[in-house]
Subunit: 409 residues, 2 copies
């Protein structure tokens, strides 16, 4: 089956638009692997002359570097010099506000981590200003360590993000309607020691979305999957055709409030029997006879299960059953190629997976399904922060025009 017909172009193919599109085309090819100008021409269908001109712009902007002779092509003539992404070019700055930690990360254009900082700190109920001030200290330290000038900043948060970088609701932080983008900019401006971070483009993004995108970008080449993660709540990201599905208002992925047993226990959201009442941190701790335990619930219950504690094992099996029922509904509805368990679910996965697999096998029957389509993220809890930093770099590679324009810094 083919996709439905769509218009071929969203606007006129102007000369300026063509040049910008071709800059992205050339940088995209180089981003996949270092290439000589001739190889770029072959790979894109552009002329040698056009590629040389575009490459000059990318070199001048510090986005690519000459990497020495390209592999011999077997053709007559001087071997070309390979062009690669510049590891000292503009980087991506990622930040994370978790319920119990803060994180900062700098990656270079190639997606390599150049600095990563994390501090454990309970942020529940704290004033956003105080949390942002702590976060800025961490960000400055990471940037100084990395020795790269970031071209943008993405902040991962455990909640719903609305227009203008406003965190609408983060139940586990106790925050609602917090203008995080402007708050973070103000915090960066206060005493900016010339690092210029306050001038960066800032984007606020849901942590599960960034975890899903990290899986897309840094994982094993997955393009169509449902990513399910846990911190205090249950989060999910839907990636189809390589793209994050955001929904009409940006709220897609609220798997935690999909009904599992419609007449089940009351949920903080006001409904009954939501997935979070079976697979969220508080519910699993309760089932494991650890209600009210502080700290990292997933690590705690996983450690108990690993030590053979039957209550912990049964709690995780119950969470796995509920995750499997909710995931089966999502698979029937969305037809992803895979379901990926990530974030806080990574460590207890060995005790979640058997029940999840059983539910998926029993409930996804109209079309083929197999156990190996449920997998565990290798990024684990690092996903959202890595995704935040890499999102900046992916944005540059997808559209280098603004950085590579004649006269751009």
């Amino acid at each position: 089956m083919r996709g439905e017909p769509e218009g071929l172009g969203a606007g006129p193919a102007s000369q300026q638009g063509m040049r910008r599109a071709n800059l992205a085309l050339v940088l995209g090819v180089i981003a996949r692997a270092p290439r000589s100008r001739a190889e770029v021409a072959n790979g894109t269908g552009l002329t040698r002359a056009a590629v040389s001109s575009l490459a000059e712009q990318l070199l001048a902007a510090g986005l690519v570097v000459e990497e020495g002779p390209a592999a011999p092509s077997g053709k007559v003539g001087r071997p070309g010099t390979a062009l690669g992404l510049n590891p000292y070019g503009p980087g991506g700055l990622g930040a994370e506000i978790g319920v119990r930690h803060l994180g900062a990360c700098v990656v270079d254009l190639r997606g390599q981590v150049r600095a990563r900082r994390r501090v454990e700190r309970s942020n529940e109920g704290r004033e956003p200003e105080a949390v942002l001030a702590d976060l800025v200290v961490l960000l400055r330290a990471a940037v100084a360590e990395a020795g790269l000038a970031p071209a943008g900043l993405t902040l991962a948060v455990p909640g719903l993000v609305g227009a203008g970088g406003v965190l609408q609701r983060a139940a586990n932080l106790g925050w609602a309607d917090v203008p995080l983008a402007s708050g973070l900019r103000a915090a960066l401006r206060a005493g900016d020691g010339g690092a210029g971070l306050a001038a960066l483009p800032i984007r606020i993004e849901n942590e599960a979305n960034l975890g899903g995108l990290a899986e897309r970008w840094l994982g094993e080449g997955r393009e169509d999957f449902l990513y399910i993660s846990a911190e205090a709540g249950v989060g999910a990201a839907i990636v189809l055709g390589g793209r994050l599905l955001r929904g009409a208002r940006g709220y897609a992925g609220e798997l935690g409030h999909v009904p599992v047993h419609p007449d089940g226990p009351h949920c903080a959201c006001g409904a009954r029997g939501c997935l979070e009442q079976y697979a969220g941190g508080a519910a699993v701790l309760r089932a494991a006879h650890l209600a009210g335990a502080r700290g990292d619930w997933a690590a705690l219950v996983a450690d108990r299960a690993a030590a053979g504690d039957p209550a912990a094992r049964e709690a995780l099996a119950g969470a796995g059953r509920a995750l499997g029922i909710a995931a089966a509904g999502a698979v029937n509805l969305l037809d992803p190629a895979e379901v990926v368990l990530g974030g806080g679910y990574t460590r207890p996965a060995p005790w979640l997976l058997p029940a999840m697999r059983a539910e998926l096998a029993a409930r996804v029957t109209v079309r083929p399904w197999s156990d190996d389509r449920l997998t565990v993220s290798r990024l684990g809890r690092r996903g959202p922060l890595l995704g935040a930093a890499v999102a900046v770099v992916r944005g540059i590679i997808a559209d280098p025009g603004p950085l590579a324009a004649p006269g751009a810094p």
Copy 2:
């Protein structure tokens, strides 16, 4: 929130590709409303000269016509002639195989119905060849009545469609692995009286997908919605950002097998408590004390409910509760702007809606929801067949290049 960064172009912006893209751009503007060449130039950013040249090609291909003087623009000079879609140009041929009917429909380039035929016929368990032979008789009659040469044929079927136009599974027809595209072409070829239908591009498509697309194209301008329909089973289509979501393998939209009560009754699919066990035709008839009744279950139960039959009303309320639970899960996951009830659910909608609304209100609480976001299709059961015919025409408008190429028929 913005979409994730994506490459600006999928290939080099060649001259030929530019011309094809610009043909689509011009035709797309004209398709929204008749426009003079000057207005097209303003609306697209193309030069007057380029628009004139592209318009010549579209006129020569019979895709557009001169419609007489455009509305005065208030500018100096001769008013331009408005260009509009040609109502006598190539049309779209839609076909439908239902469990109890066959349908054929021809629309012109403007999407106006020029002929529509429908015959009631039980197709359950019949040989596909015999059904296709009957369908071809209907298609020929519709094309003869319409007096238009169709440019393509789309067939709506109540089942899962795989690559190459193979109907993989249509439980309610009792068909599996039927190569419908090649079968339909062979049936059209047999005794083709020169109408040339056997040479048309043929596409096979799930009926709920086409019902959803019809809602997108012919409804009230919706771009983000979950469309839920019933014939014998329960179908759904997900349209987000104006595009049909197909999933990794083309199986998205199986709402009928989303678990509603995980420990509920056994379903024909092998699972338990699927939506179809509460809101499918057989289940509703059973609950209405009409088990085994033949004919159109939705009309039958709706008529009983309208006459005040308490069992019919309670059966529909129960179906509505289950639909509401499944829809609430889908809304939490996908964040559509609306949920649209269509197809067979249109007639009994008055008795389904109250319970559906109550479940959605109770279970979609993390983000704003309001009752008016659950609506009923105005296309009703005509949706899939209309969608099939209009899909052909939308394909032409989205990419007129193949029909407008110099030397094309």
